[in-house]
């Protein structure tokens, strides 16, 4: 495989269980450089587990995860720390450090992770906050003083502060009103495009998925049951996907829930 065709992220046969519960049962999915991949699926289908396996926060029991063609499963602590510099992550709840101010949160990866000068890191943090529509005054506040939407924007600013090659978004619009959700979607598109980054998002918000995805993959029962370009998701004859994207109570997914 030549450098040009090597996927930015390649996941092959990844399995992960928690006790007797099999969460990921042989995941195969690729994401090309500069592509925005959205993984959809119901609650508890293992979307967050998959993203944590790719990030190295969880170790899969089997399978291969390659970043730029380099195997990451089984990396040492030091190798993982270096690899993390390629990543940015927006957590579902923001995961802002409540003992630090907003600008310190945004600058954290620059100061602690990369040893950047404090003044320079502050300047970059304020620049990134401005990029997500937050003024300098917000930088001095504590995360607890912000609304949910503002916290998401700060978390987005933190995720892009070190200009990562790959950005992960975990349920970026969950818990937000539709207008704020759209603002966040626009910011994600803008930031990813400006950085030229690869984006992997997980969501069950189809409005968000349609807006930010180049390609969508659906996760169900620990497997990718469908993947394709965003435009094709409405044309698929896969009954699981059809039920999920139209949000219907009746269908194969609901039947399985009832049977359980």
């Amino acid at each position: 495989m030549t450098q040009g065709t090597t996927p930015k992220i390649s996941v092959r046969g990844v399995k992960k269980s928690f006790g007797p519960k099999v969460v990921l049962d042989g995941i195969d999915v690729d994401c090309a450089a500069g592509e925005s991949l959205v993984i959809i699926g119901g609650s508890g289908t293992g979307k967050s587990v998959l993203i944590k396996c790719i990030l190295g926060l969880l170790r899969p029991e089997a399978g291969s995860i390659r970043i730029d063609g380099v195997e990451t499963v089984g990396m040492t602590r030091a190798q993982r720390e270096t690899l993390m510099r390629k990543f940015g992550m927006l957590f579902q709840g923001g995961a802002l450090f409540d003992s630090l101010t907003v600008w310190q949160n945004v600058a954290f990866g620059l100061i602690q992770g990369r040893g950047a000068d404090r003044d320079e890191a502050r300047r970059i943090a304020l620049e990134k906050l401005a990029a997500v529509g937050l003024g300098e005054a917000v930088g001095q506040l504590s995360p607890a003083e912000l609304s949910g939407g503002m916290q998401k924007r700060v978390a987005l600013a933190r995720a892009i502060a070190a200009e990562p090659e790959i950005i992960f978004f975990d349920e970026p619009t969950t818990g937000l009103d539709p207008i704020m959700a759209d603002v966040i979607n626009d910011l994600i598109i803008k930031c990813v495009r400006e950085l030229g980054a690869t984006a992997v998002s997980i969501t069950h918000d189809m409005v968000s998925a349609r807006k930010i995805a180049d390609r969508i993959a659906m996760l169900h029962k620990g497997r990718i049951i469908w993947q394709g370009p965003t435009a094709e998701i409405d044309r698929t004859d896969n009954p699981y996907v059809d039920q999920f994207v139209h949000g219907r109570a009746e269908g194969p997914i609901e039947m399985e829930v009832r049977a359980a």
């Binding site: 926060l57 270096t82 579902q92 995961a95 990866g109």
Partner: protein, 258 residues
């Protein structure tokens, strides 16, 4: 017979597994200190938090412990006409045992619980995972500074507790039991040896490490939201308190057994 032994065996194996996990956690955390980046400011902040801000609670318990000790010793020794040993008993008890144990237990309640709650909350709100994604090792950033601070701060805290505890005994001895202040102080210093104080300070250092280790370990591995954090806090305080009392016996036996 098998049914009776099975739960005992399972409990013992679970105990060994937890012990192993705690030792690995401590080893990994301390091991992280041998490679950069280093966080001296965070260590200093933790030393201030553990040492300086625990002074009021440790000082208060130490002064009352010294006072009660003098009073009880006097009550007991007066039955054998050995009242003059009160000062010696107070100073040896405080420096060898009560100073480090009382300070350790107070710090377990104040600092160990706070550490478990803070790190536990960081765990359940994904803040620890966020540290990892920001190229920062959580063990190096969160745990190591606390362990080092516990090791360093407790001996200083105990030294102050020793002085305050002895002073408490002196107050009761001179004002309530009518000892001559000068002879009380002479008695205090007469039988006190360097090893009495040093052994107490070594104990303090070990207790400081144990308290912070339990706080960090249980917080770091907490699960399940607010209930999980609450449980981690309880485990941190209970396990640290038990270990302090257990290690106190082990260390005393090691230092003074003949």
């Amino acid at each position: 017979m098998t049914n009776f032994l099975a739960p005992i065996g399972a409990t013992f194996l679970a105990f060994l597994a937890v012990t192993g996990r705690i030792v690995i956690f401590a080893g990994q955390s301390l091991g992280a200190g041998f490679t950069p980046p280093y966080y001296p400011r965070r260590i200093l902040r933790q030393i201030v938090d553990i040492g300086y801000f625990s002074l009021p609670v440790v000082g208060l318990t130490a002064v009352f412990t010294g006072m009660v000790l003098a009073l009880q010793s006097y009550t007991g020794f007066s039955r054998f006409n050995a009242e003059s040993a009160v000062a010696t008993v107070v100073v040896l008890s405080v420096t060898r045992e009560l100073g480090p144990v009382i300070a350790g237990l107070m710090v377990a309640g104040r600092v160990g619980a706070a550490m478990a709650a803070e790190i536990g909350t960081m765990r359940v709100t994904d803040q620890i995972d966020a540290l990892t994604t920001l190229s920062t090792d959580p063990l190096r950033y969160l745990v190591l500074p606390r362990l080092v601070a516990g090791l360093v701060a407790l001996p200083f805290l105990v030294l102050v507790a020793d002085i305050i505890g002895i002073f408490g005994g002196f107050l009761v001895g001179t004002y309530k039991l009518n000892f001559n202040p000068s002879s009380y102080l002479t008695q205090t210093g007469q039988h006190l040896e360097t090893m009495d104080v040093v052994s107490g300070l070594i104990k303090a250092s070990v207790f400081g490490f144990v308290v912070t280790l339990m706080g960090c370990y249980h917080g770091y591995h907490s699960r399940g939201g607010a209930a999980g954090v609450g449980q981690a806090t309880t485990y941190a305080v209970v396990s640290a308190s038990i270990l302090i009392l257990l290690l106190d016996y082990v260390l005393t036996a090691a230092f003074f057994a003949k």
